[in-house]
């Protein structure tokens, strides 16, 4: 009874938060509401017996996404670009009313269709729980989610790492820089923050190591570990240290592609002829641990570098750096 009460409160809160954050006028307020929604989502994952997702949400949803959006929103305000596009629909008077009613109407129709689609889901569970459970013995790990990620569906995970790589390449290209120099904007003036960042970094690395190790038998794993380290690196950068910005282009590139390359190497060298990333008997446990370690490193560096790319360019008032002299010759 109480448990259902918690579920109900969480669901109503998430929906109300979403409506407010989508419809509100003040961008910063919407972003804070989005961060609050991330916290409520973490509670939803807890209620739906998905502790792995709750861990990822704690590191990414509440931490990294929030700080990315805050930076973007404040940067936009800083450049005075918000006022011009505050309203959902431009114009005034009856035209505006009609347009708003139209957009809400379309959304409402869509919502009804979605509700019917969800209610029409088959009632007989027909998932892969049994198949996964039957193959756990051979997977090399004792935690089902890790087994799916790095053994049963390792191919998907490999391509996901590829997506991360594409995203960072895109950000670096847009940023017109091939290292993370954009992160260097911060002057190290806030001593409390530097203190905290220096305390948090070793603790974050410790936590990441624990999550990495825990992932083989209880909820946790490489992605959560990487995200925690990334968040600590971002905190360090915000405190004025150079963080990943200290990396030159070549080591940065090496760390970014490390995991993708490791998957490629394993699929060529260590797999059986039955398919890519089909591990040989008895090697699965060790290979998974190795691949996970590369995921931790690459995810951490990639997420931290992504943050650098989305931040403000070296001081809004400062003239743009001459790309030709600063850009390293090759990636």
């Amino acid at each position: 009874m109480l448990e259902r009460g918690i579920d109900l409160v969480i669901c109503v809160a998430i929906l109300a938060l979403a409506i407010r954050l989508v419809s509100g006028q003040d961008l910063f307020r919407s972003i804070v509401l989005f961060i609050a929604m991330g916290l409520m989502l973490a509670l939803a994952w807890v209620r739906l017996a998905a502790p792995d997702i709750a861990l990822a949400e704690a590191a990414i949803g509440a931490g990294l996404t929030g700080v990315l959006l805050i930076r973007a929103g404040q940067g936009q305000r800083m450049r005075g670009a918000v006022a011009a596009v505050a309203g959902a629909v431009s114009g005034g008077g009856p035209r505006r009313v009609v347009a708003t009613a139209g957009s809400v109407g379309i959304t409402a129709v869509f919502a009804v269709v979605m509700v019917f689609a969800v209610m029409g889901l088959p009632t007989e569970p027909n998932g892969l729980t049994g198949v996964a459970a039957a193959n756990m013995e051979a997977s090399g790990v004792d935690h089902a989610v890790t087994a799916v990620l790095l053994n049963f569906r390792a191919y998907d995970t490999w391509l996901e790492i590829g997506v991360l790589l594409l995203a960072i390449l895109g950000v670096l290209a847009i940023h017109r820089r091939y290292d993370c120099g954009g992160m260097r904007v911060e002057a190290p003036t806030m001593r409390v923050l530097s203190w905290l960042a220096r305390v948090i970094l070793p603790l974050a690395i410790l936590t990441a190591g624990y999550l990495y190790w825990a992932g083989t038998h209880i909820p946790g794993g490489a992605f959560q570990a990487g995200a925690v380290v990334a968040a600590a690196l971002v905190l360090l950068a915000l405190a004025g240290s150079r963080g990943v910005a200290a990396l030159r282009a070549l080591p940065l590139a090496a760390l970014l592609v490390l995991s993708f390359a490791a998957f490629l190497a394993v699929s060529i060298v260590a797999s059986t002829g039955n398919g890519m990333l089909h591990y040989r008997d008895g090697t699965a446990g060790l290979l998974i641990l190795g691949l996970e370690l590369t995921i931790v490193i690459s995810t951490a560096v990639t997420l931290a570098a992504l943050f650098a790319g989305a931040g403000p360019r070296a001081g809004a008032g400062e003239p743009r750096r001459d790309a030709a002299t600063e850009r390293p010759k090759t990636l």
């Binding site: 806030m190 409390v192 923050l193 203190w195 905290l196 305390v199 948090i200 603790l203």
Partner: protein, 100 residues
């Protein structure tokens, strides 16, 4: 019900009262610096009492250590965040009334 469980209930309840006090403070206090008092002091004390209460129920020493570690880290984070927000607020005020 064992003595430990009763202790846990008392501590967790006390913690919840402090959380309530913090929320009331955030909603009712007149400006940002006073609201910061409510968030940082009341809520962190509440979290400490809650962690202590749950530590009584813990099944292993490592869980107790983890609970206390969480509290200490939360303290450090929220103390820093409090100072940062206060700093930002102060500058904002100065900007609004530059001659004051």
């Amino acid at each position: 019900m064992t003595l430990l469980e009763i202790g846990a209930i008392v501590l967790v309840t006390a913690g919840a009262v402090f959380f309530l006090a913090g929320t009331v403070g955030v909603l009712r206090f007149p400006d940002a610096p006073t609201r910061l008092h409510a968030v940082t002091k009341a809520d962190n004390l509440g979290l400490g009492l809650l962690a202590l209460g749950l530590a009584l129920l813990a099944d292993s020493p490592s869980t107790v250590v983890k609970l206390l570690l969480i509290w200490v880290i939360a303290l450090a984070g929220s103390a820093t965040a409090c100072q940062l927000i206060a700093n930002a607020y102060q500058r904002e005020e100065q900007q609004v009334t530059p001659d004051a």
